[in-house]
Amino acid sequence: MIDDQAFKNMSEHPTQSADLPLVAFDLIGVLAEPSWREIHGAPDRERWHRLRIGAIDEDAFWDRDAAAAYRACLRLRTDRLALVSRVRARGHRIALATNFASAWLAVVRERLGDAGLVDHWVCSGELGVAKPDPRFWAHLRGLASAVVVVDDQRDNIEAARVAGLTGVWALPGGDLEARLLAALAPGAAGPADRRLAR
């Protein structure tokens, strides 16, 4: 259960507008930490690619101790949730758009409690496709006429742009709120974040 004062009073839900862009936040690297890879001694990416689209169950992915440890480690970022609440207070609907195992979603829902921050849960484990697959973005586009994607992976931002969505890179240490609000300003939707220098 989140406990930061900044969004303890979230019971006053604003009226969300379907005319405003939907804001789709990534989970790990944006709203929560850590990645499963950070607590796994020998991460197996192939197996992860199957878990994240629901092709295998969690018990085929890692052992029970690891599963319990990940749930114990998984935490939401209160500073970022405060940002989500401010964006939602402006009338935007919020999506959580994540490459994540469906088995782990319950932990996130439980940690969020009844804050009412998320209007749409878009999880690769439930959807059967993962970012940056175009079908993932197509699903998001089906939820709103304009979608702004906030993601920490550059490849996802690029793919979102190709799919016609607006991308905002949640770069570490950056002024995410200022850039997100700039992307949400009337007439701003269009190009992906230009800060993707390599």
Binding site: E33, E38, A72, R75, R194, R195
Partner: protein, 335 residues
């Protein structure tokens, strides 16, 4: 770093094989294994608003079984009670020690408030300790407990420099100056520790000539590269690069500047250094080596020769930066 640090693509680019960087690879793999194990062990041990980090060689993914563990606990006032943070620091240190880690109670002996690290940067209340926290959280801070608060802490440290309305500098020189300052501080700290505090000189001397110097070189290279990026791309690139291990961030900086092959010499010289630090006999010999007897020591002469090879490689990198990013190197790296 989300998973194990993978140097193999870089080695391939450099025309090197695993055999050329055995100890770099071992240190990276071993560090990830240690971090993953400790994170599981420490889950839930710090309260909300508080995060535990491994700094130093483990944070750089360069540790060996002989490395000590610089534990740093940082908390946010208002989100975490100071006493709870202090207790958490003691609890985490106790768990680590029970697992056999040497957790020194030096610079990072107590939990520190994030506000204190950021509230007086460059001011009279700023201290070497606070400078150390900031520099290392940004460049070699691997979370041990509460990854979410750890990420928020690192973001806040970077933001303290990037958000300076008047003083940040177009090239984020408020940050590069602080990293320079930290590097010079640890160079002088060597003098204090050996001359005044009775600490042994040899391992510290070779760390200065390898890991400390590489850390500084990597920062220099990264900022020289960043200066050539569009203004609106610079902060993001810097924030992404600074947490990378120094060899990787040097390579990332040199690649677009046409200097990547120069990393080969750094990698092989650094590999020899990591081999020495991971070897109990070598460390034991260094711990006993009297300064006046150094020339008679084969271990000392071997490591000094390695340090000289490292200097040659580092000098070549600086020479390349001089050619490709002279304005930034001179105006901000030297003057």
């Amino acid at each position: 770093m989300r998973g194990p640090v993978d140097y193999r693509p870089l080695l391939t680019e450099l025309g090197l094989t695993d055999a050329d960087a055995v100890h770099v690879l071992e240190a990276a793999a071993g560090s990830h294994t240690r971090l993953a194990e400790l994170r599981r062990l420490l889950a839930g041990l710090v309260p909300p608003g508080c995060a535990a980090f491994a700094l130093g060689s483990l944070g750089r993914h360069e540790s060996s079984a002989l490395s000590d563990l610089d534990l740093a606990v940082v908390y946010r006032r208002g989100a975490c009670d100071p006493d709870a943070a202090r207790s958490a620091r003691e609890a985490v240190a106790a768990v680590l020690r029970r697992r056999g880690y040497d957790v020194p109670d030096k610079t990072f002996h107590s939990a520190v408030a994030l506000d204190d690290l950021l509230g007086d940067i460059g001011g009279r209340g700023d201290s070497n300790d606070h400078l150390t926290y900031r520099a290392l959280l940004l460049t070699e801070g691997a979370w041990l407990a509460d990854a979410a608060d750890a990420a928020a802490v690192v973001d806040a440290v970077f933001g303290a420099y990037a958000g300076g309305a008047t003083t940040r500098g177009r090239y984020l020189t408020s940050l590069s100056n602080d990293l320079h300052r930290y590097y010079r501080t640890i160079c002088v700290d060597y003098r204090f520790k050996v001359e005044n505090a009775g600490k042994h000189w040899a391992v510290r001397y070779f760390k200065l000539r390898h890991s400390r110097k590489l850390w500084h070189l990597a920062n220099l290279a990264v900022f020289c590269r960043a200066a050539l990026l569009p203004d609106d791309a610079r902060d993001g690139w810097l924030a992404e690069m600074l947490p990378q291990p120094p060899l990787l961030r040097t390579a990332e900086a040199l690649r677009p500047l046409g200097g990547l092959p120069l990393c080969a010499g750094l990698v092989t010289a650094y590999d020899a250094f990591l081999a020495a630090l991971a070897d109990p006999d070598t460390r034991g010999a260094l711990d006993l080596l009297a300064y006046d007897a150094r020339e008679a020591s084969p271990v000392f002469r071997r490591l000094r020769a390695g340090a000289e090879r490292f200097d040659v490689a580092a000098t070549a990198v600086v020479g390349h930066l001089w050619q490709r990013s002279p304005d930034h190197l001179v105006r901000y790296g030297l003057l």
